[in-house]
Amino acid sequence: MGFEMALDFPRHLLELEALTRPQIEGLLSLAARFKRERARARAGEAQTDRRSLLRGRNVITLFFETSTRTRSSFEVAAKALGADVLTFQKDASSVAKGESLEDTVRNLDAIGADALVVRHPAAGAPRLVARAVRASVINAGDGAHEHPTQGLLDALSLRERWGTLEGKTVAIVGDIAHSRVARSNIHCLRKLGAHVRVGGPSTLIPSGIEELGCTVARSLRAALTGADAVMALRIQNERIADARLPGARDYARTWGLNARTLEMLPKEALVLHPGPVNRGVEMSSDVLDSPRSLVMDQVDSGVAVRMAVLALCLRAEVPA
């Protein structure tokens, strides 16, 4: 593993839909290694210094939406590989009026970016960036399209618990319509052999989602029964303003995960959430903090997955 595999990985990570199963599995194996190394270092055991991998390379995070988690996670990952990190936080609305996205990223490219980590509210924006620049482009979330590293980190956490995702059933519950996390997860989980169900109020289930290869559950019971894991998605207040939901309370009553509704889920099944959690809306505190919750492990997987993505996209030679 290492260089040979890196050659097979695309230079840009725009979407998981375009990746093959071997590419995803190769990446997850590398991420698992990084994750173990980080755990050993934290425990005061062997330190593995990976800072030579991307020494002298510039990683620029360009966020057109506010984000602390994903951006920090990418920055920690880039620094762990020895890269120099620059951060740009831009307000997409002001950009829309002034400089075009293309002009903005061409400038950053000229500054000398090796990788551009892009988050943007418009679906497809990272592809537009990739066409305009020389640097590798890593999609950190584009509108309701994809959030590839989130899909990968969820898969890593699940794979570590289960060994394999083959034949497992994962339910994704919540605002599927506006969720890039849901789309990346559907593609990733399916490619790894899992079955995916999505569930939520009909107002939040986008038309034709079945064509992505998942099934639609019309009740929480149908979503949870027999599932091996359930992933709850964040419910946003805008959904009330645009008449998709009557309110948080009504949502929690029908689709919220709590001690009562979790009875529908098999005992050994796992619970995930991409964060940040609205405690008491899509997930209650006791569920979030329970031993079956993978939420903190997901955050840990996030750094490792982003290290692996940067290493592969930037063609770092990872010694065995």
Partner: protein, 442 residues
């Protein structure tokens, strides 16, 4: 006299499809006859050998945006009218969503005058339904009609108020003025960037449901039926609209309709860079291609089929391009931010002939939809080679294969979704009022 000698004349208005010779006398058609040009005529007149060519009435396009006045960087009346004749189109109806909006005789006269000065296709203005196309107060329709407007429309936006629409239809009825509607319920389409469905879901783009169009078509059919006025449904994109219009016609509602080549050639898959199987072999685009963004949006394959069926059975009388020029920079942005619209004047004939070759539309029907069909929607005296009619004629090399290169378009804009396509059929000579205004390769 100009004599178009022995071409295959296809003139659905006069039920002609056969080898004929067309005599053009000044600005009008003298006659269409079976006898080829005589040796004597060849000495005296300008005889053009049209053997192996098709000779059609000049095409009539009821729906183009020429952007002048106000956005001359995208198109001018002159460049648009020049592009039209290169595509075999001899009459265009210019949409009123200019800056300022064509809601007064002054603007309508300006548009018509610019068209005459340019001297290419005939440019007929369309007036606004409401002042400023704001959907609130009626525009001066009588004045607009007097200034030469062929219809009124707030194209680009619907008249959202049913009450205003009802009054507009009543007022226009007194003037015998067709009302062209851009059918879109904005409360259903709000926020949408493409057709609602699996492709939008996969790409993470918000959708415009077909119901946004169909609901409005239904409303306006009902109002037109109640009032007894003439309704023209612009750019039909959804199968539900085709069905509603077909049923309304059967009831005797005075409705006409048009469809655009992009809607009968492409589906919403084009937004993902995927072409329908009927376009196999053409170069696919890229995902989030903003040249696949227009309003109404590209729809599903079943909608595309329904539009073709509507063109075939006469539910839809006219093929109209909705030619909508935009600058390259306007389109080179995030998909959600890109403006709606594509250009079409220089590709509509060849795309229509592609339907014919695919066996989806009989040739005579296709020519009718491009010529006399649209002309009759607005009572225009064009689209026919009848003796005495204005001599708007196009000579077509039906077999000519050509590659769509927007850089070579006469239009000022390049935003065609068919860039790089190989098409067959091209206007080689276009006459307007007996004057040669386009000659291929010249």
């Amino acid at each position: 006299m100009i004599i178009l000698d022995s071409g295959r004349v296809i003139d659905p208005a006069n039920r002609i499809d056969g080898t004929r010779t067309v005599l053009i006398d000044g600005d009008h058609i003298r006659e269409v006859r079976e006898q080829p040009a005589t040796p004597a005529e060849k000495l005296v007149h300008h005889v053009i050998d049209c053997r192996g060519r098709w000779v059609l009435p000049g095409l009539v396009d009821l729906h183009v945006h020429l952007r002048e006045p106000g956005e001359e960087g995208k198109e001018t009346i002159a460049t648009g009218a020049r592009a039209a004749v290169a595509g075999g189109v001899t009459t265009v109806v210019a949409m009123p969503n200019t800056k300022p909006v064509c809601d007064s005789a002054a603007v309508a006269r300006f548009v018509a005058a610019r068209g005459r000065e340019a001297g290419f296709a005939r440019v007929i203005p369309a007036g606004a339904i409401t002042r400023g196309s704001l959907g609130e107060q009626l525009a001066d329709m009588a004045e607009l009609k007097e200034a030469g407007c062929a219809c009124v429309t707030d194209d680009g936006r619907p008249v959202m108020s049913a009450g205003v629409m009802r009054r507009a239809l009543e007022y226009a009825r007194d003037l015998d003025l067709p009302v062209m509607v851009h059918a879109e319920d904005l409360t259903l389409s709000a926020g949408g960037a493409m057709n609602e469905g699996p492709v939008a879901t996969r790409l993470g783009l918000s959708g415009v449901p077909a119901a946004a169009e169909v609901a409005m078509v239904q409303r306006d059919l009902l109002l037109a039926e109640t009032v007894g006025s003439r309704l023209h449904v612009a750019h039909v994109s959804a199968k539900g609209s085709v069905r509603a219009i077909r049923e309304a016609k059967a009831r005797g509602v005075r409705v006409t309709a048009e469809a655009a080549p992009h809607h009968f050639t492409l589906t919403d898959d084009a937004v993902a860079g995927v072409l329908p199987t009927s376009a196999a072999g053409q170069p696919a685009g890229e995902p989030y291609d903003t040249h696949a963004k227009m309003s109404p949006p590209l729809r599903a394959e079943s909608d595309r089929q329904a539009i073709i069926a509507g063109l075939s059975d006469g539910t839809i009388e006219a093929i109209a391009t909705d030619h909508a020029p935009h600058g390259a920079l306007d389109k080179q942005v995030e998909f959600v931010h890109a403006p709606n619209g594509v250009i079409g004047l220089e590709t509509s004939l060849a795309l229509t002939l592609a339907l014919v070759r695919a066996g989806e539309l009989p040739l005579g029907r296709a020519v009718e939809r491009l010529t006399v069909g649209p002309a009759r929607c607005f009572d225009l005296p064009y689209g026919t080679l009848a003796a005495g009619a204005p001599a708007d004629v196009v000579v077509v090399d039906a077999e000519k294969e050509w590659k769509v290169d927007p850089q070579r378009f006469y239009s000022r804009s390049r935003n065609s979704p068919f860039s790089g396509w190989t098409l067959r059929g091209k206007a080689v000579r276009t006459f307007v009022a007996g004057k040669l205004v386009h000659e291929e390769g010249k």
